[in-house]
């Protein structure tokens, strides 16, 4: 039989376990805790920028295409005050080729052209996003940017690339991301380009102060 002291200790242990579990789950949801860095080729802006944006994006998502324009504008306007890191969150159930697109963009990034390749994917989204066969556009864009396509193919199949993408997806799932584009601006969540601009306004003073 459990004596009174042990019962109290058990109750205390239960409370500690319960409270710590809730705290961690909330911390995950509110994006408290270290952010996994994106590879350098997916990151734009100085490391020390006062405003850090992480964007979970899907190259086959129209809203991400519109948001990309806004992000580009913000980078132009706020320059050194802003650092944008892209993370992949391909919505595989509705966009059959977005995982491939993300992998090729990363592999283009390894050849120094993540942004350029990503821009082509966004601009021509309707041509490749819903095709039945594997889109030939992936190779066309690589050729247009003078990228080494065989190297990109090997890279896109490599365990390292696949692992990196899966980790981005797992991280997004853990944070409760379920739509693209989702942004975390200094830890504050924004979904879609409209919310991004609203949230960014809150940091306008910091951003303007950091202007050269």
């Amino acid at each position: 039989m459990i004596d009174r002291n042990n019962a109290r200790l058990l109750a205390l242990a239960g409370i500690m376990i319960f409270v710590s579990t809730i705290a961690v789950l909330l911390a995950r949801q509110f994006n408290i805790g270290p952010e996994r860095p994106s590879p350098d080729f997916r990151t734009f802006g100085p490391r020390t920028a006062p405003v850090q944006i992480y964007e979970y994006t899907d190259f086959a998502c129209p809203a991400c295409r519109h948001a990309a324009v806004k992000v580009d504008e913000m980078i132009k306007i706020f320059g050194p005050g802003l650092r944008v890191s892209f993370k992949h969150y391909p919505l595989l159930r509705i966009h059959p080729w977005s995982f491939h697109a993300a992998a090729y963009a990363d592999c283009a990034g390894e050849q120094g052209k993540f942004k350029e390749y990503g821009d082509l994917l966004f601009e021509n989204q309707e041509k490749w996003a819903q095709t039945k066969e594997k889109p030939k556009e992936f190779e066309d864009y690589a050729a247009r940017l003078k990228l080494d396509w065989p190297k990109m193919l090997a890279c896109s199949d490599s365990p390292e690339t696949i692992r990196r993408l899966k980790l981005d997806i797992a991280e997004a799932d853990m944070k409760g991301v379920n739509a693209t584009p989702t942004f975390f601006i200094n830890g504050k969540r924004a979904v879609g380009g409209g919310q991004l601009v609203d949230q960014a306004r809150k940091f306008e003073n910091i951003l303007r102060a950091a202007k050269p």
């Binding site: 200790l9 500690m16 961690v24 270290p34 899966k166 980790l167």
Partner: protein, 152 residues
């Protein structure tokens, strides 16, 4: 007990906080990261397959966090310290077999992916914490929840 603070009690408390703190930190840092990240680290030890590594990665951070919290607070102090020591021994066995087999492990996974110690350094560090866990089990009973409950 004459109410005087004895040095061994202080050592016991510090050992408890050190080992407990270590487990809280390592559990927290992993529980706040995707399980897949830790899963890949476990997989690199080549003891479990990918599926089981992922399951272990789901469970282990919480076990570490709870063990650390209970030990730091001094709830069932001796049991918590022995359990923490057993966890450390288990980690030593994993590190030891990886070292003996010459596995190339870039990140031990001990504190998430952002932290990479060499296997030998991690092994040595764990030995220190193992000694501290023993001290916590032996002398960590003072200034603990166990003691507080006794006096209620």
């Amino acid at each position: 007990m004459n109410g005087k603070i004895q040095i061994k009690d202080l050592i016991g408390l510090l050992a408890r906080l050190a080992v407990g703190g270590l487990f809280i930190y390592s559990g927290l840092i992993k529980a706040l990261a995707p399980a897949e990240e830790f899963g890949y680290a476990i997989e690199s030890y080549k003891v479990l397959n990918a599926q089981l590594s992922l399951w272990a990665a789901y469970v282990a951070p919480w076990v570490e966090l709870y063990a650390g919290l209970l030990l730091a607070a001094g709830v069932f102090t001796r049991l918590s310290a022995v359990f923490s020591g057993a966890l450390l021994l288990f980690f030593e066995a994993l590190l030891g077999q990886a070292w003996l087999r010459g596995l190339s492990i870039t990140s031990c996974g001990c504190f998430g992916s952002g932290y990479g110690n060499s296997i030998t350094r991690e092994f040595t560090q764990n030995l220190v914490f193992l000694a501290l866990a023993w001290m916590a089990a032996r002398y960590g009973g003072h200034w603990s929840a166990d003691k507080a409950v006794e006096t209620l």
